[in-house]
């Protein structure tokens, strides 16, 4: 039985598959982002520049890994690896896992912890280098964690609680993903679902440290924030972690809010697969669109926005879902 788990961790939907998805997503993301800013984007490496992300990773892979005096390179490496590992493990909990997904009753908390780890790891690796920019970046991440982790957790919980209310799952991520799409066809559950979806998208944007919430790595102020002192393979891993967060976050929203292929299970498998991919691409496009549309906020503005608008939105969604649970019961 662990052999299946090993296969899933290493090949599909684990490391190798995720590497492929990161590659394609990054290419698409850059291309779209560039078009939205009236640029062209990657062009020369491969057809339409499709090999550009691979070229970037390879470049970092073969660069020298310099670590400054007084930093802790091994600890940093372990932390990033664990963060990447936790996102890979989260993928194994989604319904795209073929043979033996990790699924248990009440496993949402596990998923939430796995989602929190990358943020903490990024902040910590910033604290591990003796550089004012990284310390400021880490401090900013920690300050914002409170705002957006709560929002993200609450908005992820909403479809799970609602799908438990309709009797389709028992607080397990897997079964919620299989059934949460039904909630869009009910006039009562559509309100919390909409609110939760908006809150999830915005707080995912904040988790990804992209505009307008790229305060911790604001390159015009603090170079690269927590990542300032990292180079070579470790920088490749950090960028990989960031890209993986985008992939897994979008995948999670795709599967949890729209069910991916599950509403179309009656179609031939390749069509269902295509639909999943299209949903995923739409989510990525929305994230890119927000990023292209906005400019960086100041940290107090971002915190006030979260506390005044986005967190109440997620809280209302969560409370509504609890009320609906009671009305159903």
């Amino acid at each position: 039985m662990p052999y299946e788990l090993l296969f899933e961790t290493i090949v599909y939907p684990g490391v190798i598959f995720l590497c492929l998805v990161i590659w394609l997503t990054q290419w698409y993301h850059r291309k779209v982002y560039a078009r939205m800013q009236s640029r062209i984007g990657p062009l020369h490496t491969g057809p339409f520049g499709i090999l550009q992300p691979i070229a970037d990773y390879l470049k970092l892979f073969f660069k020298e890994d310099v670590s400054i005096e007084g930093s802790h390179p091994r600890l940093a490496l372990t932390l990033i690896s664990i963060a990447i590992g936790s996102l890979v493990a989260l993928t194994l909990m989604l319904p795209i896992t073929p043979f033996r997904p990790i699924v248990a009753e009440y496993d949402v908390m596990l998923a939430m912890y796995l989602l929190v780890w990358p943020t903490i790891a990024i902040a910590l690796i910033g604290m591990l280098t003796p550089n004012p920019f990284s310390a400021v970046g880490a401090s900013r991440i920690f300050s914002m964690t409170l705002a957006y982790e709560v929002t993200f957790v609450a908005s992820i919980l909403t479809p799970i609680i609602l799908s438990t209310a309709i009797g389709a799952s028992n607080y397990s991520l897997y079964h919620s993903c299989l059934n949460a799409w039904r909630l869009w066809f009910n006039p009562y559950t559509i309100i919390p679902m909409t609110l939760a979806l908006i809150a999830a998208l915005i707080s995912l944007q904040c988790k990804l440290l992209s505009k307008p919430f790229d305060i911790p790595e604001a390159e015009t102020e603090i170079v690269a924030g927590p990542f300032t002192e990292y180079s070579g393979f470790k920088l490749a891993l950090i960028i990989g972690l960031h890209d993986l967060e985008m992939v897994v976050g979008s995948l999670l929203i795709t599967m949890l809010f729209f069910g991916g292929f599950t509403p179309f299970a009656w179609l031939p498998w390749y069509l269902a697969m295509m639909i999943t991919v299209i949903e995923y691409v739409v989510i990525v496009t929305i994230l890119t669109w927000i990023k292209a549309m906005t400019a960086r906020l100041r940290i107090d503005q971002a915190l006030v926005i979260f506390w005044k608008y986005i967190l109440p939105m997620a809280a209302i969604a969560l409370l509504t879902s609890i009320v609906i649970t009671y009305l159903v019961a």
């Binding site: 007084g70 802790h72 600890l75 009753e105 009440y106 949402v108 908390m109 596990l110 939430m112 912890y113 929190v116 903490i120 910590l124 604290m127 591990l128 003796p130 920690f142 964690t145 409170l146 982790e149 709560v150 957790v153 609450a154 919980l157 609680i161 607080y171 969560l318 409370l319 609890i322 649970t325 009671y326 019961a329």
Partner: protein, 531 residues
């Protein structure tokens, strides 16, 4: 006499052995003025107690599913004092003995430069006696006595470094507040005795159901009012002893001021003993009885509210601390909040989570305080800014600290993650309290940030001063740390087995009023017939 009497006797022997040794040690110190002799004596007593509690634990979990009862002086239950040992009590008893033993071994080198260690060990033995008595006792007045024994030893231990002003201040504060709590508990006992006419826990439970033990008659007063006032006041007093917000404020002063092994005991198990007594009242004795049911329910919701408040206060205040021990002490308030939230649910899954969290947190918190003690022993400072970089010179201590910190903050698959997961599950099952899981996740993140702040200062941060003279702590201090750290890992990885085989039976025994009462009835009958 059967085997069961001997086993119950072995449990009842433990507090007596400890208190006897506590009185004997000052006399011994008059005769023998060598520190080693005092240490050997204390260590022997603690080892014997540990072995005894291990036997009791093994027996309870393998051969006896009913609570055992030991009647002192062979007086039948409502008249004499009884000790009632069920699986939950034997588990906590084992935990107490194990941790006191670890702390004692740690103290040998930690206290080597301090004078008056005979008093230190005397108080430590008294402390153990008090805690064991609180857990094993089946008598509400004896619980008061044992709370006082425990608390007075604790006041003395907090004030042990009497040359520092903060220890004296903290001890006075703690003593004032603690005495208020025990006095209120005493008043509560008066209400119970005045209305029920009994001090026996099993008898209380019986009288609430219109039945009695063979000797006593019906209640002598209005048991509705009596039990309400008793329960509320006892709840308040015990919540103060357990440091659940808003009654938590003495803890961040008192726990850091004590010597580190004592902080480990205070934070590790003393607050858990109070929570355990609370569990006894709210889940074993007064649960489900018709007249007091609304009060119990009210108090359960109060406990949940207080638990949520504790987690939020503890986790946010942790982040702003500069004193390493104070930071860890705020972590205790946070975790007590989790335990209270589990107890407040008053069902099996909540209790299982709480009981498992009690065990995990006791071990993890003892580890953290002892690791902090090792840093303080080596550098002589509690300020995080003065500890920068010392962890680099103390790899074993830092590794143990990191394991403990990750375990307490809830990193899978270490121990506290598993118990928090169970708490999470209990809350999701509970229906309308489900949004509180957000609090659990959020405060866990805070806890991680707080504990890692210490790690950041002692290890990751660039040293601001020359640390080349710092050496690894002595072996006798490192070994207990490593033992506790490996326990954190084992409890996490073996959690599925441990929960099924140890925690769930313990929680079931705590929830089983029927068997608890039956044990007392049978013992009373047996003693009356046998003479």
């Amino acid at each position: 006499m059967t085997w069961t009497n001997y086993i119950a006797g072995l449990a009842a022997l433990q507090p007596f052995l400890a208190i006897f040794a506590a009185f004997a040690l000052p006399l011994i110190s008059l005769l023998a003025k060598r520190r080693q002799i005092w240490e050997c004596f204390t260590l022997t007593i603690l080892l014997i107690n540990f072995a005894l509690s291990l036997i009791v634990f093994y027996y309870m979990y393998n051969f006896s599913c009913k609570p055992l009862l030991y009647a002192f002086g062979s007086w039948p239950p409502p008249i004499g004092i009884v000790y009632t040992i069920d699986r939950g009590a034997s588990l906590i008893g084992l935990l107490i003995n194990g941790l006191v033993l670890t702390a004692m071994i740690f103290s040998i080198r930690y206290m080597e430069h301090e004078g008056g260690t005979q008093w230190y060990y005397t108080l430590m033995l008294g402390f153990e006696a008090g805690m064991l008595g609180c857990v094993y006792t089946g008598d509400i007045f004896n619980l008061f006595v044992m709370l006082e024994v425990m608390s007075i030893s604790a006041y003395g231990l907090v004030a042990f470094r009497r040359e520092t002003h903060e220890a004296v201040e903290a001890a006075i504060k703690y003593a004032i507040v603690g005495s208020v709590a025990t006095t209120i508990y005493f008043i509560a006992v008066i209400f119970a005795y005045g209305s029920f006419g009994t001090l026996n826990m099993a008898d209380l439970a019986l009288k609430l159901k219109d039945s009695t033990l063979p000797i006593t008659g019906p209640p002598i007063g209005d048991i509705l009012i009596g039990s309400t006032v008793f329960l509320t006041l006892a709840f308040w007093a015990l919540s103060l002893k357990a440091a659940i917000a808003p009654n938590h404020f003495w803890l961040p002063d008192a726990h850091p001021a004590a010597p580190s092994p004592i902080s480990a005991l205070l934070s590790g198990i003393m607050v858990k003993v109070a929570i355990f007594a609370l569990m006894r009242y709210m889940l074993t004795i007064f649960k489900g009885t018709i007249p007091t049911f609304p009060v119990v329910e009210l108090l359960n919701y109060t406990l949940i509210t207080m638990g949520v408040l504790s987690t939020i206060l503890g986790s946010t205040l942790m982040l702003v601390q500069r004193d390493i021990k104070r930071l860890i002490a705020y972590g205790t308030i946070l975790n007590i909040g989790y335990i209270a939230m589990g107890v407040g649910l008053a069902n099996l899954s909540g209790l299982v989570a709480s009981l498992f969290h009690i065990v995990n947190h006791a071990i993890g918190k003892a580890l953290l305080f002892m690791a902090a003690g090792a840093y303080i022993h080596v550098t002589g400072s509690r300020d995080l800014d003065e500890l920068t970089g010392v962890g680099r010179r103390m790899p074993f201590t830092t590794a143990a600290y990191l394991v403990g910190a990750l375990a307490l903050a809830g990193a899978p698959p270490l121990s506290c993650f598993m118990s928090k997961l169970l708490l999470f599950k209990a809350y999701l099952e509970s229906g309308w309290l489900a949004p509180l899981v957000v609090v659990i996740v959020l405060t866990s993140v805070f806890a991680l940030m707080g504990y890692l702040k210490v790690f950041y200062h002692v290890y990751a941060k660039q040293p601001t001063r020359d640390i080349s003279s710092v050496k690894e702590a002595p072996t006798l201090m490192v070994v207990p740390l490593l033992v506790l750290a490996s326990l954190c890992i084992v409890l996490g990885i073996a959690a599925p087995i441990i929960v099924d085989n140890v925690i769930v039976p313990g929680a079931l025994s705590l929830l089983n009023t029927q068997d608890y009462v039956l044990a007392a009835q049978e013992a009373a009958k047996l003693i009356m017939e046998g003479g």
